[in-house]
Symmetry: D3
Amino acid sequence: MYSVSVRDHFMIAHSFKGEVFGPARRLHGATYVVDVEFRRPDLDADGIVVDIGRAGDAVRRVLADLNFRNLDEATEFAGKNTTTEFLARAIFDAMVAAIGRGDIGPGASGVESLRVTLHESHVAWAAFEGPVAGR
Amino acid sequence: MYSVSVRDHFMIAHSFKGEVFGPARRLHGATYVVDVEFRRPDLDADGIVVDIGRAGDAVRRVLADLNFRNLDEATEFAGKNTTTEFLARAIFDAMVAAIGRGDIGPGASGVESLRVTLHESHVAWAAFEGPVAGR
Amino acid sequence: MYSVSVRDHFMIAHSFKGEVFGPARRLHGATYVVDVEFRRPDLDADGIVVDIGRAGDAVRRVLADLNFRNLDEATEFAGKNTTTEFLARAIFDAMVAAIGRGDIGPGASGVESLRVTLHESHVAWAAFEGPVAGR
Amino acid sequence: MYSVSVRDHFMIAHSFKGEVFGPARRLHGATYVVDVEFRRPDLDADGIVVDIGRAGDAVRRVLADLNFRNLDEATEFAGKNTTTEFLARAIFDAMVAAIGRGDIGPGASGVESLRVTLHESHVAWAAFEGPVAGR
Amino acid sequence: MYSVSVRDHFMIAHSFKGEVFGPARRLHGATYVVDVEFRRPDLDADGIVVDIGRAGDAVRRVLADLNFRNLDEATEFAGKNTTTEFLARAIFDAMVAAIGRGDIGPGASGVESLRVTLHESHVAWAAFEGPVAGR
Amino acid sequence: MYSVSVRDHFMIAHSFKGEVFGPARRLHGATYVVDVEFRRPDLDADGIVVDIGRAGDAVRRVLADLNFRNLDEATEFAGKNTTTEFLARAIFDAMVAAIGRGDIGPGASGVESLRVTLHESHVAWAAFEGPVAGR
């Protein structure tokens, strides 16, 4: 299996609901350093997994929808705790949609699965990985 | 699959037995930077994989049992070479036991598998991963 | 010159005032990974710059005063933009005060200067360094 | 599953053919920081996955064949774009051959699979992983 | 003293002339991960060292002049070995010129000195630091 | 000022004497990741600070004298706590001696100062810097 990964980041405010979160129930924030890994079993005719330039642009657009926001006011996440693992899944879904729309080019149709990792600090990170639905 | 990872470290002395180890047969030591990854297919009702605070505390307790010790005198490892890969497994087993005892809370019962990585330097690391036995 | 450095982190929400900040004028947040460097020309009788355990505890207490907060509501920063460089200075001042109170032990009286670095992402960081006033 | 990983690097010049590569069609170059992960289900009698000294030496020899070269003139890659993912596979193949020749010692016969990761910058990397053929 | 640092990268081919360079006399290449640190004794009225957005843009433009090139054919470096330390100085000079032209805004006139670090691998880096001439 | 830095590591056992060290008074160990920075105001005729190959070899030899040892039995450190900051100085002194002996070549005579940093974990490090005596 081949993979290509790109890194970017975004910065948000949010708070959590539930006893388990302790002081993180207060409004606070995070920088998330995001790694998106694209996987496929074979390279295309150019010798690549995806066009890394277009892949990076697609990641940037997905993160731009979240960047510099208070996620407590994000209607798309209403009623949800925007934990690191939850956001990893949300970005995974957005990347699958981007591939489906052709944002990363026709070559990205060969991508079988993705892994999205969000680093919230030097000592904690979360990830979601799964197949690209509909392939 | 979702995952959450936490990082901590411990510092020990040890020596190895066997031709293959060369100068590492002498008493020396290591800092191990430890990453523990908790994996499960779905998030719980709070939107998390595990209570990251309790998970970090459990990792700290497991590493505290090893920290600042000469592992050559550790009866639990008698007759074994405490290599990086061996210690990754030992910490994996201790984390599985911690989950079984409920140290990370009832939510951790949803954790299907763990990956424990020990970084022994900037150029070498080892890992053990496997299912959480008994689930 | 000798130095010892310790790393910790905190997570906050805030927003900025001023044209220069663009989208960062919206409420957002950040994880700051903080490095505090303690410097002195000679080691003490134990062969150390500072008691690294007490130094780490003092950093933790200083960061605990900021962690999981919305800095827009912090009265101590009223009328200020809590930029990364501004916060580096605020933490520097708090660490100098901690040394002055003896929080890091009498040995810390030998510390001549500090450097406080705040990493806001994998591609941006800021620092403040200066002498420990009153020495 | 156990694994052991070692890190090394090499520095090359190359250019790419194909519209998708944009300015990377010009002769340029890269530092590749290479991680090779060796995996097996059980440890050997010494408590190791592989002799990490010999494994590191084998990686160094494989990378020495590429280091300080213009890959556009490498006959072994004629007609191919030497992308990061392509090179990850080439190094994977060379490592499998090294294991087959016994370069890493008889213990390496227990290695079931490898993962080779090439970091081309702080924001992009690629990997190839697969079973060790012929086992 | 305050500082703000930003990170970016570029990828080039080159070769060196002189016995001391050994195999690096062959055409090869490198990824340089570049950190530019801007220093000044006081913050401006907005509470910043420089407009980090404009600073990052200026770094990107300076690196774009080098990116995806064979430096052996760069007339501006004719007769010079484009070593890591030499390039750190060249980028320092280009950043000083960018500040002088006002590329980073009028606020950057308060910047007293710069440090430019180029990481050529995980085990080697070089830097040049100095005052911003003409201030 | 120009600088060039190289990274290597060593692994030792030791224990400390003194109340301040708490559990670190027990025999334990550490991996030290070592950065040696060579500084000089001008480049030599080849465009370098030092021959990085010879510099790296010299660092390796200095660390080889410490690697895989129990420092409690090192006669050269008798009566001393081999703390991270103490070892940074010891390696600094050994590097100055190496330069004096010509181990890094005649070009290294232009090196004015060194900084030696020892990383003992992902959250703690120490350094010693000073002029190259006798220049």
